[in-house]
C-alpha cells in the first residue's frame, strides 16, 4: 500500500484519517477469526486452550496429522476433480445456450428464456430430496457423477453469457456466415475469443461455488473415500472432537486452494460482478 501523508491541517485530512481508522477497525474484526484459526493450528494440542490468542508455542504437527489422519489428500483430490468437471461443463453449456438465446432467431425464444431464468428462482434446497432420490436410483451415490451431474448447467451462466453475446454486433455473425462458417465455427474463432473476460469470471464463480459446496456432497456421500473437502471437514470435526489444533489446521489446508484462486483471479472476479450491469 502506498504511504500517503495525511495533512491534519485540512478537514479533508481529518476525513481521510477517520476513514483509515474505520478501515483498520473493520479489517481487525474481519481478520480476527483467521488469526485465531492460524494461532490454534500452529500450537500443539495441549496448548490450544491456554492463552488462545498468544502464539506461545509452535509446531506443524497439526498440519501433518490433519493431512494423514484426516485423509485430506483424498478429499482435496475429490473436490478438485468435481469442481473442475463442473466448471468446464458449465462453461460449455452456458456459452452454447447463451449463443442460441442471443444470436439465433427461433420461435418461442423469449418464453423459453424466461422459463430458463425461472429456474434461478427455485432454490437448490427445494429440489434437494428429489435430486437425491434420482441420484440414488441411478446408483450414483458415492460417485463423481453424483457429485457433479446435477450442476452441469446453470441459468446464471446462460444469463451472464447472453448479456455479452447481446452486445456483440450481429454483423460479425453475418460476415462469418458469408464466409461459410457454421455456428460452432463462429463460436470457436470469433465468439469465445471476444467473450473471454466474462468467461473467465464465470469459470471462477463456478469453481468457487462447486468447491464450497457442502450440503450436496454431504448428502450423497456415505463412503469416506468420496467425501469432498467440505463434507470431509465435517467428518473430521466429529472424529477429532478433542483435537482443536488438528481441526484448525485442516480448515486452513482446505482454504488454501480457494485463497490461491482468489488471489490469482481477483480481477476477473471484480469484472464478473460488474458484467451485465451495463449492456454493451
Amino acid at each position: 500500500m502506498a504511504t500517503e501523508n495525511i495533512n491534519f491541517e485540512s478537514p479533508r485530512g481529518w476525513r481521510l484519517a477517520g476513514r483509515y481508522m474505520l478501515l483498520a477497525v473493520v479489517t481487525a474484526v474481519v481478520l480476527f477469526p483467521v488469526y485465531t484459526t492460524v494461532i490454534a493450528a500452529l500450537k500443539p494440542g495441549d496448548k490450544v486452550l491456554q492463552n488462545p490468542l498468544v502464539p506461545d508455542a509452535f509446531t506443524l504437527d497439526g498440519f501433518s496429522d490433519a493431512w494423514t489422519a484426516g485423509h485430506l489428500d483424498r478429499y482435496l483430490l475429490n473436490s478438485f476433480v468435481v469442481a473442475t468437471v463442473i466448471t468446464i461443463v458449465q462453461l460449455v453449456t452456458s456459452v452454447v445456450s447463451a449463443y442460441a438465446f442471443a444470436m439465433l432467431d427461433f420461435p418461442g425464444r423469449g418464453v423459453l428464456f424466461v422459463v430458463f431464468l425461472a429456474t434461478l428462482l427455485v432454490p437448490f434446497e427445494a429440489t434437494l430430496v428429489v435430486n437425491r432420490r434420482t441420484v440414488d436410483s441411478l446408483g450414483w451415490l458415492n460417485s463423481y457423477q453424483g457429485l457433479a451431474v446435477p450442476f452441469l448447467a446453470t441459468a446464471f451462466g446462460t444469463f451472464l453469457m447472453r448479456q455479452v453475446f447481446l452486445g456483440m454486433p450481429l454483423d460479425l455473425r453475418d460476415a462469418a456466415a458469408i464466409d461459410g462458417v457454421g455456428h460452432l465455427g463462429f463460436l470457436r474463432h470469433v465468439g469465445i475469443p471476444l467473450v473471454r473476460p466474462t468467461l473467465g469470471a464465470l469459470a471462477l464463480f463456478s469453481f468457487l461455488g462447486s468447491w464450497n459446496q457442502y450440503l450436496w456432497p454431504n448428502l450423497i456421500t456415505t463412503e469416506d473415500d468420496m467425501n469432498t473437502v467440505q463434507s470431509g471437514l465435517r467428518l473430521l470435526r466429529s472424529s477429532a472432537l478433542d483435537e482443536p489444533n488438528l481441526l484448525m489446521a485442516a480448515t486452513i489446508i482446505a482454504a488454501i486452494p480457494i485463497v490461491v484462486v482468489l488471489l490469482l483471479f481477483q480481477r476477473q472476479l471484480v469484472r464478473g460482478l460488474t458484467a451485465g450491469a451495463v449492456k454493451g
Binding site: 486452550l49 488462545p52 448428502l219 456415505t222 465435517r234 483435537e243
Partner: protein, 517 residues
C-alpha cells in the same frame, strides 16, 4: 485485557451454541425425515390435542402408572409375520462376506468401535465389516431414511429414539428373529436394555452400548467451596444447594452448566426427569401399551420441573450454554477460565472422550482426576436413568449370507469380552452383566468408579414397563420441538406457554405420523 477478549469470545461462541471447536463449521443440517406436508386438519386430531393451556387431563394420565397395568398384548406382532433371520446361511457361503456398517459415533466412541471391529475382522476370515462414519446420529438417520433399500448399509447403528420409526420402516430384520432362530441366550442381558429396543413385544435392534446422563463435576471447585469432592448432589434440590454454596463461596461463577440441546438438556433430560418423578411423558403408558396419541409434559409436573430449572438460571446458579450443537459446550463451560461452572449433566458415553481430552492436556489446570462423575440428579430424591445409547440393526433384503454375517458380527460385539473392552474405552454401560466379570472392565470398574456410575444407576432404576421412557414414532421430531420450547424457557420465556405450544406441535407430529403409518 486478553483474558477479557477471550472470555467474550467464548461467551459469544457459547451463545450461538457453537463451541470454539466447531467454529466455522455449519451446525448439523437435518432434513425432515418424512415430508411433513400433509399435516391433518385440526378436526381430525385426537381429542387431547385441543386442550387449553393449564386445563387438566384425566387423572389416570398424569398419575404414575400402577403396577396393575395390563400387559401390552394387544399390539404384539407375531415374529412369523416379520422378516426371517437366516442365521446359518454363513456356513454355506464361500469366500469373504463384505458388510458395510453406518454409524455416527465420535471421538473415543468411534475409536472404540473401530477397535472392536478390527478385532472381529482379525478373529475370523468369513466376514469383513467396513465402518462408514456418517457424522452423527442425525445424519445417519437422515441418510438411511432417504436412501433406497439397495443403497442402505448392511448393518446400521441407531440411537434408541428411532426404534419405532425403524420398526415402522419395515427395512430391518428384527433381532428377535435371529435370537429365536439361533437360540441365542440373552438371560444375562439387562432386561431394560432389551425392552428399550423393542416395540409391540418385538426386539428390533441389539443394544451395543448403554449410555445415560450423568453428572460431571469439577472436584477442585467442590473443595474450594467447602464441599466434599467425593459426594456429588443426588437431586435437583441438592444441585441448587450445592450451587448456592459454590457461587456464594466464589469457588466458581456458576453451579451448573445447562443446555437446551435436542439430545441433551432440551429433549433427552426431560424424558429422564419425568421418569425419575414417576410421571409419564406421553399417554398410553409412554406409548408402550398402545401407540401414544399425545405428550404430557405440558402438564403440571413438567411445568414445575422446568420452572425449577429456569429459576436456577434466573438466580444465577446455572448457566445456559444454548443448543450445544457439538455436545461439547457444557463441558467447556467447566473449563471456562473467566466464568466457570462447577457441574454439568452429560451423557456417560462422553466419559472416555473427556478423560482422553484431559489426559492430553487440552484443558490447562484440569487433570483427569479432577473430574468427578455422579448419578444424574433429578426431581425425585434418588437418581434413576432410562436406557440411552445405541443398537445394531440388520438391514433386510441384502441376501441371506449378509444377514447371517451381520448376526455373527452382532454376537461378537455383544459378547462379554467385546463389551468389557468397549465399556472400558468409552464410558458406555455394558448391555450384559457378565461383561463385568471379565477383564478389562473388571479392574476398570474397581479402580475408577466413575466408569460404573451409568451402570449402577441403570440397574438401580425400577423395571416398570411404563417407566422405561417414551416410545414415539416421530420421537426425534418431538424432541426437536421440545428442545425449542426448553430453549425459550431457559432464556426466560413463560414455562406453561412454551410447553403448551410445544405440546400442540408434538401432538400434530404424532397424529401426522399415525396417519401415515
Amino acid at each position: 485485557m486478553l483474558a477479557l477478549v477471550a472470555a467474550g469470545l467464548l461467551a459469544a461462541a457459547c451463545g450461538n451454541g457453537e463451541t470454539i471447536l466447531n467454529a466455522g463449521n455449519e451446525p448439523a443440517t437435518t432434513l425432515p425425515v418424512e415430508a411433513p406436508a400433509t399435516l391433518p386438519p385440526v378436526d381430525t386430531l385426537a381429542p387431547g390435542d385441543t386442550l387449553a393451556p393449564g386445563e387438566t387431563v384425566p387423572p389416570d394420565d398424569t398419575r404414575p402408572p400402577s403396577t396393575t397395568l395390563p400387559p401390552p398384548t394387544t399390539t404384539t406382532i407375531p415374529l412369523a409375520d416379520l422378516a426371517e433371520c437366516p442365521v446359518d446361511a454363513l456356513d454355506e457361503g464361500s469366500g469373504t462376506v463384505e458388510l458395510t456398517l453406518w454409524h455416527g459415533l465420535n471421538a473415543e466412541s468411534e475409536t472404540a468401535l473401530t477397535k472392536l471391529t478390527d478385532a472381529y475382522n482379525a478373529s475370523q476370515s468369513e466376514v469383513r465389516v467396513e465402518l462408514q462414519n456418517q457424522g452423527n446420529y442425525s445424519q445417519t438417520i437422515d441418510k438411511y431414511v432417504q436412501s433406497s433399500q439397495g443403497s442402505r448399509p448392511d448393518v446400521v447403528i441407531f440411537p434408541e429414539y428411532v426404534v419405532q420409526q425403524t420398526a415402522d420402516s419395515d427395512s430391518v430384520i428384527p433381532v428377535a428373529a435371529c435370537v429365536e432362530e439361533s437360540g441365542y441366550d440373552t438371560s444375562t442381558f439387562q432386561p431394560s436394555t432389551l425392552t428399550a429396543y423393542s416395540t409391540a413385544g418385538v426386539q428390533w435392534g441389539m443394544p451395543l452400548g448403554v449410555s445415560n446422563p450423568v453428572l460431571y463435576y469439577n472436584k477442585l471447585v467442590f473443595e474450594a467451596a467447602g464441599l466434599d469432592p467425593e459426594i456429588p448432589p443426588r437431586s435437583l434440590d441438592e444441585v441448587r444447594q450445592f450451587s448456592q454454596q459454590i457461587v456464594d463461596s466464589g469457588a466458581a461463577s456458576y453451579g451448573i452448566a445447562v443446555d437446551s440441546g435436542t439430545d441433551s438438556g432440551g429433549g433427552w433430560f426431560l424424558e429422564q426427569w419425568l421418569a425419575n418423578e414417576g410421571e409419564l411423558y406421553a399417554d398410553n403408558g409412554n406409548g408402550r401399551l398402545a401407540p401414544a396419541t399425545r405428550v404430557l409434559y405440558d402438564q403440571p409436573p413438567g411445568v414445575e420441573l422446568l420452572t425449577y430449572v429456569q429459576q436456577l438460571i434466573t438466580d444465577g446458579l446455572a448457566f445456559n450454554v444454548g443448543d450445544n450443537a457439538g455436545g461439547t459446550d457444557t463441558f467447556f463451560k467447566l473449563a471456562d477460565e473467566s466464568a466457570p461452572a462447577a457441574m454439568t449433566i452429560g451423557t456417560s458415553a462422553a466419559l472416555g472422550t473427556v478423560i482422553a481430552a484431559l489426559g492430553g492436556g487440552l484443558i490447562p489446570g484440569l487433570t483427569v482426576d479432577d473430574i468427578g462423575v455422579g448419578a444424574m440428579p433429578g426431581p425425585g430424591p434418588t437418581p434413576t436413568a432410562l436406557v440411552g445409547g445405541n443398537a445394531l440393526f440388520i438391514v433386510k433384503d441384502k441376501g441371506d449370507e449378509k444377514a447371517a454375517a451381520a448376526w455373527d458380527y452382532i454376537t461378537y460385539a455383544v459378547s462379554p469380552e467385546a463389551q468389557s473392552q468397549y465399556v472400558t474405552d468409552t464410558g458406555y454401560a455394558p448391555v450384559r452383566a457378565d461383561a463385568l466379570d471379565v477383564e478389562p472392565a473388571l479392574s476398570k470398574y474397581a479402580s475408577d468408579p466413575r466408569f460404573r456410575v451409568a451402570y449402577d444407576q441403570l440397574i438401580a432404576s425400577p423395571d416398570d414397563p411404563a417407566l422405561q421412557g417414551p416410545i414415539l414414532g416421530p420421537q426425534r421430531e418431538v424432541r426437536g420441538v421440545t428442545a425449542r420450547a426448553v430453549a425459550e424457557i431457559f432464556n426466560g420465556g413463560d414455562v406453561q406457554a412454551a410447553l403448551s405450544a410445544a405440546a400442540t406441535q408434538a401432538n400434530l407430529l404424532i397424529a401426522d405420523y399415525a396417519a401415515r403409518n
